[in-house]
Symmetry: C2
Subunit: 197 residues, 2 copies
DNA sequence: CACAAGCTAGGACAGTTGTCCTAATTTGTC
DNA sequence: GACAAATTAGGACAACTGTCCTAGCTTGTG
C-alpha cells in the first residue's frame, strides 16, 4: 500500500517543518518539496492544511504515549521516570536551543492564531501532566501531586525557552541538576512525613 | 509635528498586534486598519516590515528600561525589586494566559524564522538578565548571581508558557508564591554564609 | 497669499498562499 | 491482459502578501 507510505511521509516531514519553522510559516510547497511530491497531490491525502496539522498532532501524541510507555518499562522507580522526562532537555538540547520545545512552541503559536486545534495540541501537555501526576502519587504525594506535575512541566518549559534565547548548554545542564536536587528533596520530605507523622 | 504622532501610533499598534497575533501573522493591512491609515501610507514611515519590527523592539526595550528604573525608585530592597519582576506574572495574567510572554514568544518566533533581528529581540532578555544579576549581587551573591538571574528568568518563562496552555490563574499565583519562598531561602542562605563563615 | 515640505490615499506590481479540478499514470485484482 | 480503483502531476483560481510609485492634499513658513 504505497499510498499509506506517502501519507506517513507527509506527516513526518510536516512534523519536522512545523517544529523547525512553525505551522503558519510552513507552506504546502515546503512540505511537497521535502517529501518529493507535487503540490497538487496533497488534496488526495489531506483536504486542508488544518487536517495535516491534526494528523501531525495525532502523530506527536502517539509518539509521546510510546515514550511514556518506554519509561514505564525501563525506569525502575517513579523518581527515575520523572528524571527521564527532565533528561529530554539534555538529550534534545541541540534542537531545543535552535527551535525551542516542540509542544510548547506549537501551543503558543496556535494560541496566538486562536486556532481551532488549540485544545488538540494542548493534549500533549495534558498527557505529560497526567503522567507526571501519577508518578508523584506513586512517590506518596496525594493532593499536591498535580501541582508538582505542573511545576516540573513549567520548569522544563522555562529552561527550554531561555536555552533558545541564550543558546546556553551549560545552563541546561545546571537546571537539570537543580531539578534533580529539588525532586530528591521533595521525595525525602514525603518520606519523613509518611514515617514520622 | 503630526507625522511623529502617526509614526508612534504605528509602532504602538504594531507592538500590540505583534504580541497578540505574532509578527509574521500580522500584515500591513492589519496595522493600517488598527491605526486608521491607508496601506500605501506606510512606505513614508517605514520602508520594510522589518523596520517596523525593529522600531517595536526598540519601543519595548525603552519601556523595559523605564520599568526597571521605576522599580529602582519604588522598591527599597533588592528582594522587593526581584519580586516586582516576578509580580508581572500576576499583573499581566490575563494577557499572559491569552498570548504568553511578549518577549519570550517574539524571540521564539524569530528563532524559528532565523530572522535577522533575533539578537535585537533577545536584548530584552539581556536587559532583564543583567538587571536581575545586579540585584542578586546586592544581596551578597557574587559568582552565582548570574545563574540565579537566569534561573528566575527561566522560571517566569515556564510559568507564562504553562499558564497559556492551561489558562490557570491559580497556578500562576501558586508559582509566584513559590518563587518568593525560594528567593527568601536563597537570601537567608547568603546571610548565614556571610555572617557565619 | 504663495511656496515648499511633509504627509496621505489609492492602486500597481510580482510573488506566494491554500484550495480545488482534471487528466494521466500506476497499482492491485480478476 | 483487462478493468476499476487509487494515486499522481500539473495547473487554474481568487485572495493576500510586502513593496513601491504617483498624484493629490495638508501644513508650516516666508
Amino acid at each position: 500500500m504505497p499510498s499509506a507510505t506517502t501519507r506517513i511521509r507527509i506527516v513526518e516531514k510536516a512534523d519536522t517543518l512545523f517544529y523547525e519553522a512553525g505551522f503558519d510559516a510552513t507552506s504546502f510547497s515546503d512540505i511537497a518539496a521535502a517529501v518529493g511530491i507535487s503540490r497538487g497531490n496533497f488534496y488526495h491525502h489531506f483536504k486542508t492544511k488544518d487536517q495535516i496539522l491534526n494528523a501531525v498532532i495525532r502523530f506527536r501524541l502517539e509518539r509521546t504515549r510510546e515514550m511514556l510507555a518506554n519509561w514505564e518499562n525501563n525506569a525502575e522507580t517513579a523518581r527515575d521516570r520523572i528524571l527521564s522526562f527532565i533528561q529530554i532537555l539534555i538529550v534534545n538540547r541541540a534542537n531545543i536551543m535552535a527551535y525551542g520545545c516542540p509542544a510548547g512552541t506549537l501551543c503558543t503559536e496556535l494560541a496566538k492564531m486562536d486556532h481551532a486545534s488549540q485544545d488538540h495540541a494542548n493534549e500533549i501537555f495534558v498527557l505529560f501532566r497526567g503522567w507526571l501526576t501519577q508518578q508523584f502519587m506513586l512517590l506518596g504525594s496525594d493532593e499536591q501531586a498535580g501541582q508538582h506535575a505542573l511545576h516540573v512541566l513549567a520548569w522544563s518549559q522555562g529552561v527550554a525557552s531561555i536555552a533558545t534565547t541564550f543558546r546556553d548548554e551549560a545552563f541546561i545542564r545546571r537546571e537539570v541538576a537543580e531539578i534533580t536536587i529539588w525532586l530528591d528533596r521533595k521525595i525525602s520530605q514525603l518520606n519523613t512525613r509518611l514515617t514520622g507523622d
